[in-house]
Symmetry: C2
């Protein structure tokens, strides 16, 4: 008898998820029916987003598990009609890959000086040759899993990468400095600085008027980490006086970045809308299919939510 | 006694070359004097560009070799006053690295859809997430040393890379198709196509109305190879009807690309001024210093010009 899987999320998600989810389920050789509409009493699993129409789980009498496609579960974890296991999405492959692609792409963009070719209204033919990657030191502040993955990607392209973290770390094949003295050493040499620190009281305004002044004149700032890592006013001042050549920012203190915020119209700031790292259907589908396979094989589910703790 | 090295090229080159050349000479532990002005009878080596003021080599009575910083030697090879060995610049490290950086950067730019964030006059916050690299097939037409180096870089980032060459090639760790049938197979699946073919009668207009129509709708074209590889009118027609989403072109049938050429003003074309791969001072300085070291050690010079053949 086929496994009946109900996809209960917005229609846009169905468009994105249907093909990769079928592919991932097929890979496990599962016999299944996957639809956006099934009689509730026939449903075995719900692939779920908390903003779907399904809010009352009572009619789903033979339901085995609800598999959330969001990382966040706060809008469903307290639902009293939900009696079966609930999993949240931990798409570490998509998140890490996405971050590495976004960071590598924007480092190369600034390194190569692409913008003056992308926007070139005077049609200038100016064959200035940029330096090569080994002559471009890149500092990565925050040297956890994401920072290290970005460092390896950039090092593979030849960039002179140095990581920085608050406490000392020894990481095979990578250079990493630490502490306040180390921060000054790393920034003093950085042509491009990438922020991948967590958002904590200690990391707030890591880039401020003083630390920005440590960077070589004309350095680039890239922030895919957290909005509060940068003192916004200090950044604008450093851009205005040419200390920083350009900043590319993916995260902000308020998101979406409010219309009228000075970042939007600043000629030396590029805003990207919090897209550097996110759940991707292709890799998320692998996680969903793996959990259905596990459930059918009576193995423990991945990323089960502890509903008493709320996450 | 120090080796006397005259730097005879335009002042702009001296600015670029002095520091890397001194560093490269120092690395070999050579005792030298490097200047832009030295008494001709004292000069041992001339680091040379054919557009320098030095055109009569007669006064350089103890000259051992002329080391050209250009790849091209046609403006000096016939000089009858030059009696000593002449070397041309083969900066394979700079050329390959530069090409890999430019190709990887522009592939990531199109893959991530950067342009809509770089130019966003309406300040739209539109967090559309691009697919990940494994879902973006990249075709590299021309699978010589440069094509393979780009393929390895892109494959390292996770892209689904397939090379193509006119004749069959088996290359460890890379996928490569060949021949006219293979071209259709490769283009039919390519989200991004990179042109790195040589300029020969057989490769002219490799991308033409027919082959462009084989690409999936919305594909990207990147040409760092040679201008004549693309039928210009067919490309513009394919862009205008949306078959091709965007083309980034570094090489053209006439360079500099003439003012008024339709490529300049086409909203779906990015022109870069033949910068994808060029000699770089840092790596070229290594080649120059290595040749001075070899000459002083009575070893054979690298890249000696055969003046009877003219290159």
């Amino acid at each position: 008898m086929p496994i009946n899987i109900l996809f209960a999320a917005l229609p846009k998600r169905w468009t994105e998820y249907e093909a990769p989810l079928r592919a991932a389920l097929d890979k496990h050789g599962l016999d299944y029916i996957l639809e956006t509409d099934l009689p509730p009493q026939d449903v075995d699993y719900i692939v779920y987003a908390p903003n779907s129409a399904v809010q009352d789980f009572t009619p789903y009498t033979r339901l085995k598990a609800v598999l959330n496609i969001w990382a966040g579960v706060e809008a469903i974890v307290g639902n009293p009609t939900l009696k079966v296991p609930l999993t949240r999405m931990v798409d570490s492959e998509g998140l890490t890959r996405g971050m590495v692609e976004w960071v590598t792409g924007h480092v190369l963009r600034h390194h190569l000086g692409m913008d003056r070719h992308i926007v070139n209204p005077d049609h200038d033919w100016d064959p200035a040759i940029p330096p090569l990657a080994p002559e471009r030191p890149v500092a990565i502040l925050g040297f956890g899993a994401l920072g290290q993955a970005c460092a390896r990607s950039l090092q593979g392209l030849g960039f002179a990468v140095c990581g920085w973290s608050r406490s000392a770390k020894a990481i095979e094949g990578l250079t990493c400095d630490h502490g306040q003295d180390g921060l000054k050493r790393v920034l003093t040499h950085a042509g491009i600085v990438v922020l991948l620190l967590p958002d904590t009281p200690e990391t707030e305004n890591t880039l401020n008027a003083q630390t920005l002044s440590w960077l070589p004149k004309g350095a680039f700032v890239i922030n895919p980490g957290r909005g509060p890592l940068i003192d916004d006013d200090a950044l604008i001042a450093a851009l205005d006086r040419g200390q920083i050549a350009h900043a590319t920012l993916d995260v902000f203190r308020t998101e979406p970045l409010p219309k009228g915020h000075p970042f939007w119209s600043h000629p030396k700031i590029t805003v990207t809308p919090h897209i550097a790292a996110d759940t991707r259907p292709a890799s998320a589908a692998q996680v969903l299919a793996e959990n259905i396979r596990r459930s059918e094989a009576d193995e423990a589910l991945l990323y089960t939510v502890d509903r008493s703790a709320g996450y």
